[in-house]
Symmetry: C2
Subunit: 612 residues, 2 copies
């Protein structure tokens, strides 16, 4: 006898013998559940959620120690402690995973009524004949009208160019993609009609290929944003365009190429899946609609809009309203007539990706007090409270991306991402389980929290020079995270006093933004009913550590929600549903943008926020 364990949202199933733990089941399914303590119920990282009355062992003492009563009531358990007594469905929060895929494209997602901008019509038209000399376009327009569709207006040259051969090669049968009153795609009968949702980040570009007829996600994937070669962050790319006459061109071309390759790659991948039936059944020419979300600078650089004014006070965008453009306008060669919809920008430093995140998380619809944030070089924070929606952007800097940290690195194989100090010994876990190379943002965050909990650093971030883990380095006091003998490059991986200061500045900026938003709403941190953390970095951070170092307010654990790539999900929703797209525009329009720099108390609030 064996039980079937169903891991969600990963969609993996595995059969196990009675009495096995959920952690063991996960390991046999190849799912990388966090277990820094080795599965002995000490680290509290292997958190999973079960349905009430699931056939498993009841919570044991270890669990009741580590989990709050609210958490237990919500069905949270430690995977290493739960013994399986029957078949169950296990929900794995993203934060419990050891980053099997660090280009985050997954995210929490709810079903949505399919109502895309584009409708497909399969038409059979009467052939041109001596007694029926209508032009190809009028014939098509009449055919659509006869089907009750809006009569198409403003025919596009590239659509007209395909029509003649297409109609004659397919016995006057055709599949038409109609966007309101515009024909945006024509193809042989029964050709798929595709959409592409893109989260265009400063560092990575994530995309979802969608079948617009079924709403099904056919493939998803991500690549690095190749603009990185011209500047790691937004400001250095802005400088690049100002210092190089061809800079804007170059940045646009490089990202357009990446989108084009990603589209081709996802089509190929979708075509390889057995359920597609036919290999190569999909191609980018079938992509009739794209939704792209990104921060204001990525949005502007994609469109080759000027960015100089984004880098200078008062930091205004060239455009903030939602845009519908043709893919061909930016040199993106998809289907003829392909439209790109760009979600609205809120301000120079709060872009459409934040709007998409709010849409996906439903922040703007919620009744109570909700904070939603997306941590990056700039951290965008929104506060929804009693019908009001406020947003700000805070300059948290690149420390969380590993920059300005001596041994810092991006979240890639070999990065220390989990740190624990157990009985005075420092333990770590690396991405990919390989020997360490450096430490990524979430690792630094945890290291700081652990050093604080162990009393090795004080509230100002100063190190206890007499602690055995602290030593005098060339540039001051430092903690050795991994000794040279254990690292891949044979050098110590350390955390210095300066590194700690960098993190203090970063987390201080975020906490100051939170404080000021709450102050404007006349609220206290305790009033926050839900605290939503979106984005790749946000998915992997350890929330208790973030609380420990004072980055987040001390709220009950269950009020936090790590939602993965909500911006990408928001883009997908805007692709699948016109009403949701309109909702995004409406929510963006009602946001009050708070410019922190203009806030009278900002400097002192920031100063207060950098303590640990």
């Amino acid at each position: 006898m064996s039980f079937q364990i169903d891991f969600q949202p990963l969609g993996r199933r595995v059969d196990v013998e009675p009495g096995a733990t959920i952690l063991e089941a996960a390991q046999s399914a190849g799912i990388g559940l966090s277990a820094v303590c080795g599965g002995v119920g000490l680290c509290g990282r292997c958190l999973v959620r079960l349905a009430p009355a699931a056939p498993v062992s009841p919570p044991n003492e270890d669990e009741l120690t580590l989990l709050s009563p609210e958490a237990v009531a919500a069905g949270l358990r430690l995977a290493c402690q739960v013994k399986l007594l029957g078949s169950v469905r296990v929900e794995v929060p993203p934060e419990s995973l050891t980053a099997p895929q660090r280009t985050q494209v997954e995210g929490e997602e709810e079903p949505v009524d399919l109502a895309p901008e584009i409708t497909a019509y399969e038409l059979i038209l009467p052939p041109a004949a001596l007694k029926d000399l209508r032009s190809d376009w009028e014939r098509l327009a009449d055919g659509l009208s006869a089907r009750g569709a809006p009569r198409p207006q403003r025919p596009r040259v590239r659509i007209l160019a395909r029509l003649a051969a297409l109609l004659r090669a397919n016995d006057w049968r055709i599949r038409v993609g109609l966007r309101r009153d515009e024909v945006v795609n024509v193809a042989p009968p029964e050709t798929p009609l595709l959409g592409l949702a893109v989260d265009l980040g400063t560092t990575k570009v994530a995309a979802y290929l969608i079948d617009l007829l079924s709403g099904r996600t056919l493939a998803m994937g991500a690549v690095m944003n190749p603009q990185i070669a011209y500047g790691e962050d937004v400001l250095s790319r802005i400088s690049f365009t100002m210092e190089n006459p061809e800079g804007s061109n170059l940045l646009q071309k490089t990202v357009v190429n990446a989108l084009s390759e990603l589209a081709a790659h996802l089509c190929a991948e979708a075509g390889r899946k057995p359920e597609a039936g036919r290999t190569g059944a999909y191609d980018p020419g079938q992509i009739a609609e794209m939704v792209i979300v990104g921060n204001t600078a990525m949005h502007h650089l994609l469109l080759k809009l000027p960015v100089r004014q984004l880098g200078l006070a008062p930091y205004v965008a060239a455009v903030s309203s939602p845009l519908d453009i043709k893919a061909s306008e930016i040199g993106l060669d998809l289907g003829p007539g392909s439209t790109i919809h760009l979600l609205p920008n809120i301000a120079g430093f709060v872009g459409g990706d934040h709007v998409a995140m709010l849409l996906a998380t439903g922040t703007h619809r919620k009744k109570g007090v909700v904070i939603s944030l997306d941590i990056g070089t700039n951290t965008e924070i929104s506060l929804a409270a009693h019908g009001r929606l406020m947003s700000c952007s805070t300059a948290s800097g690149p420390a969380f991306e590993g920059a300005h940290i001596r041994d810092g690195m991006r979240a890639a194989d070999g990065a220390i991402e989990r740190v624990r100090i157990v009985d005075g010994r420092l333990e770590y876990q690396t991405i990919g389980g390989v020997p360490p190379v450096g430490i990524c943002g979430s690792g630094v965050l945890e290291a700081l929290a652990q050093l604080k909990l162990a009393g090795i650093i004080d509230g100002r971030g100063a190190m206890d020079k007499d602690h055995p883990l602290v030593r005098q380095g060339n540039f001051g006091l430092e903690v050795v995270l991994a000794a040279a003998t254990r690292t891949r490059h044979g050098r110590d991986v350390v955390l210095s006093r300066k590194d700690i200061s960098e993190i203090q500045l970063a987390k201080g900026a975020i906490r100051a933004g939170l404080t000021i938003l709450l102050k404007h709403a006349g609220l206290e941190p305790d009033d926050v009913n839900e605290f939503i953390i979106a984005g790749a970095f946000g998915t992997y951070i350890d929330v208790p550590s973030a609380i420990t170092i004072g980055m987040f307010p001390r709220l009950p654990r269950e009020r936090f929600r790590q939602v993965g790539n909500a911006a990408g999900i928001g883009a997908k929703l805007a692709l699948l549903s016109s009403p949701l797209r309109a909702e995004a525009a409406a929510l963006a329009a009602r946001i009050d943008y708070l410019d922190l720099i203009q806030e009278p108390g900002f400097t002192s609030i920031f100063a207060e926020s950098i303590g640990i």
Copy 2:
């Protein structure tokens, strides 16, 4: 004492002594009035029109012999016979000119209420500031709304791209070109807003540069259609695209380049005129709207639409409705957001140029029975009768353009364009007055009429082999038009029996079209109240000769009107006035297109029409 003579529509003035003739005045003004007979009142070519009671000598016997009483009543006179007794204004019909400029851009034109698609707004916007963080686009949109303009929608990337620098360089002052609810042009304050009207012919491209704020024509000009290098006529260009994979691309690029150069040339010319005030004040970036008219094939080749089906029965167009496209869609680099409007096509062989001609001549509005035609390789003919509008296209072939004629040539310097047989002697006149090289279409037409009148050819086109002007050539009987001793190349310029047959086929096709249209309307030729001849060739033909050879019905001379480049004027009207543009669409929609090939009696009517 001298009088001032004002020649219209040429706009030239000259002072003459009392008693001089109008022909002498014209000669001293450098105006090439036709005078084949040398100004002795015999040829009747130097027709001009004077106002009633103009201070001139009364009609003499020669005039009363050559002119009908109706013509005299309408103020028509022979310039060589009229003695000037005071200052007068002389109207010179195009047909009285010896083609001083054979790329026809002039045409009859009536004043029109200025109501272009685009409105210019001069705005002064509040600068971006910490307390006013609106994006540049929203600021502009608000500024337009405040001026009562429609709120602009769907901002275009290329407009957005210019906005930031433009606003900041001009103290937040800007000139905006608004097309309905679309911003199509932005520029520094007080920049001109231009339009370009283009008649895109198979052989030549004529264009008018218009100030959209004043309606003034700033410059006009014409160039050969460079597609000629890939095929002289429509069908050979269609073949070229079918035989060469890159053919369509090449034909599009070559004509787009020509348009681009023409636009630059006209801007430069407009800037050189003293009234422009500043040299170089105009540039193609200020061209916000173009109207292009052309036959269906030129229309399709410009847009790189498929033309294969235009060359095959049932000869249907890819599109017939009016089109608004962006200049950038065809690679034409004008102002960002520049729109090209293309007048509707009626059928595969009746294009927007014919619609423009009907618009300019007002054919569709007239009360009586009106024929309008434009002679070319295909001759498009429309009949307006009692509220009905019918059109057909007839394959008149390239003979009138000098092709398929042994010594045929285009209407260029050295072409024999006028022929008279006086007292058994053959006299001719060449374009430019230089020694002859060949004969152009209008010359052949006249030669034929003169040979018929002199009894040298009979009703079937057969030559009288015993006539002194007829000789036996290497390929049959022929008439020597100019002997080798007088030609530029030292060879005889002759007219052969085969040449006569070619012209018979051409004029037969036209007459058959006329006959069938009239038959369908239940009318006789005599019922035609007005017979409008448009286009370059039509401007230069001798109407009596055309009647003599049976190409046109025998109607009183004053019912004929030679209107010059009416298609170009129609394009200009559609540029200057949105209501007229709508009128063009409406008139095109109500035209009944008659396919002559399907006409049961076509073959026999054609056979009857080729006799002289």
